[in-house]
């Protein structure tokens, strides 16, 4: 239908595009399988159609890119297949294997129309991503970090990452707040999205807030439930898993799903299948603290009363021993005393007997002795008496002598008297009073 203008064969734009369309549709009659990375899904909720951005990268550089269309009906069917197989909806940033036709539209140009996406391929891709995350964590030496923390003796203060309206949150609170032992927990909610692509950033944001005030908490619990098994691949996300690994206090998970364990759950300090199970675990930790205390209390009572009873028994036995020993000693001493006293009295009696005999003997001897002494003394005395009698002046006077006295004293020398002195002379039959007329000394010759 071309026309000739100025000797030139000229086509209209439509003719050209229709020609290209014809060529392409002849060349690409059948659909074929393509492998590519879906950078963006670009789902328009108003129309329900998607315009995915597909790329192929080599060393991070885009080497191919093409406009793609996924019509509403196809999207709904494929997405439902994905949910069944992957437990994940179609989403950005995954590798897909898709069946497509090449289309050329005169207005919209060249595009690929996706008619089918293989969920099994993407499942493998997700699994590969998960393995990559695990590999990276292990290589970085952080994989076991949170698990290596020590379990707090009482996980009492809980930083709870959850959604206030979720069933899991309600279940968790119900179990820990209404336990029949009266255990008290302190829960502080850090609300976050818990599934889908945005959950990674949302949970990371809250974890970083908790990290700043970690001294208020013993553990972190990520609790989810009632949300089905969809949209959990975010828990395989490297950054989220790494933050959990490196978190300074134990992170517990109770995400509540039936699919394979996610990386976040693998690296968490403790993973409980459901929020309820997590709550039970925490109560058990309280039991683990409480029961030994009860046991110690009982041990304390029995051991203490044992010690007291032992000491009492010792004291009693010591007292008995003391009593018996002192009794024996008393009896022994009493016996000894009695025997000493008996022997002493015997000895004394004998001693007195001996002394009595001795005294009697002395007395006899004394009597005998004194008798003879008396006789001899009497004889001596009579001899002396005779001598003395002989010497008596009376007897001298009787023999014819006299004694002349002056002033009562016998005159024995001329010196005793002077002429004129009065003297008295004693004779045998009376006295003569005289006066001295003269004195005459004897011749010395």
């Amino acid at each position: 239908m071309s026309e000739v203008i100025n000797d030139k064969k000229v086509f209209s734009l439509l003719e050209v595009t229709l020609s290209i369309k014809k060529t392409i549709s002849e060349r690409y009659q059948r659909s074929f399988w393509v492998k590519a990375e879906m950078n963006k899904l670009n789902h328009y909720s108003y129309s329900g159609h998607c315009y995915p951005e597909l790329v192929e990268k080599v060393d991070g550089k885009v080497v191919a890119q093409m406009k793609t269309i996924l019509w509403k009906e196809d999207f709904l069917r494929i997405n439902s297949n994905f949910l069944n197989t992957l437990k994940e909806p179609l989403k950005d940033g995954i590798n897909i294997l898709f069946n497509a036709t090449v289309n050329f539209d005169p207005v919209h140009g060249l595009s690929l129309r996706i008619v089918e996406i293989d969920p099994v391929f993407s499942l493998g891709e997700l699994e590969r991503e998960k393995m990559e995350t695990i590999e990276k964590l292990k290589k970085g030496g952080v994989f076991h970090l949170n698990r290596a923390l020590s379990m707090p003796l009482l996980p009492q203060r809980i930083a709870l990452i959850s959604v206030e309206t979720s069933k899991g949150y309600a279940d968790f609170l119900k179990v820990i707040s209404s336990n029949s032992w009266g255990y008290r927990f302190f829960c502080f909610l850090f609300p976050a999205l818990l599934q889908g692509d945005r959950s990674v950033d949302s949970i990371l944001y809250q974890l970083r807030r908790i990290r700043r005030i970690k001294h208020h908490f013993d553990i972190v619990a990520i609790v989810r439930g009632g949300g089905g098994d969809v949209g959990l691949s975010s828990y395989n996300h490297y950054l989220l898993a790494k933050e959990i690994c490196e978190f300074p206090i134990p992170v517990f998970t109770g995400i509540g799903h039936s699919t394979n364990e996610t990386v976040a759950e693998m690296v968490a300090f403790k993973n409980a299948i459901t929020p309820t199970e997590l709550a039970d675990f925490l109560i058990q930790a309280f039991h683990n603290f409480s029961v030994p205390i009860h046991q110690m209390e009982e041990t304390l009572v029995s051991a203490t009363s044992g010690i007291v009873a032992d000491e009492q028994a010792k004291l009693l036995s010591a007292a008995r021993y003391f009593k018996s020993v002192t009794n024996q000693l008393l009896i022994h001493n009493r016996h000894e005393l009695k025997s000493y006293s008996r022997s002493a009295s015997q000895h004394l009696a004998y001693y007195f007997q001996q002394k009595k005999l001795l005294i009697a003997d002395c007395l006899n001897r004394f009597r005998r002795g004194s008798n003879s002494l008396q006789k001899s003394r009497l004889m001596e005395l009579s001899t002396i008496e005779k001598s003395i009698n002989l010497m008596d002046p009376i007897n001298v006077i009787k023999r014819g002598y006299t004694i002349t006295l002056k002033d009562g004293k016998a005159i024995s020398s001329l010196a005793d008297v002077n002429p004129g002195d009065q003297t008295t002379t004693i004779t045998v039959d009376g006295i003569i009073v005289s006066k001295v007329v003269n004195t005459k000394r004897n011749d010395p010759t």
Binding site: F188, I213, F286, I293, M296, E297, L300, A303, T304
Partner: protein, 68 residues
Amino acid sequence: MNEKITYTQAFEELQSIVEEIESGQISVDELSEKVKRATFLIKLCKTKLTTTEEDVKQILKELEDGEE
């Protein structure tokens, strides 16, 4: 007794006292003091199980301070 003691410390101290008493390596003179201390620690631990002292206002304040 107003001393600040964590339940870990309380628990461990209690354990060592009970072991000491149980082993019989304790004199009657010390016994009374130790039993008194153990009783205090048991009471403390039991109280810890059934009460919390966290202050929500303080936590909120610290969170806000960090986010300014």
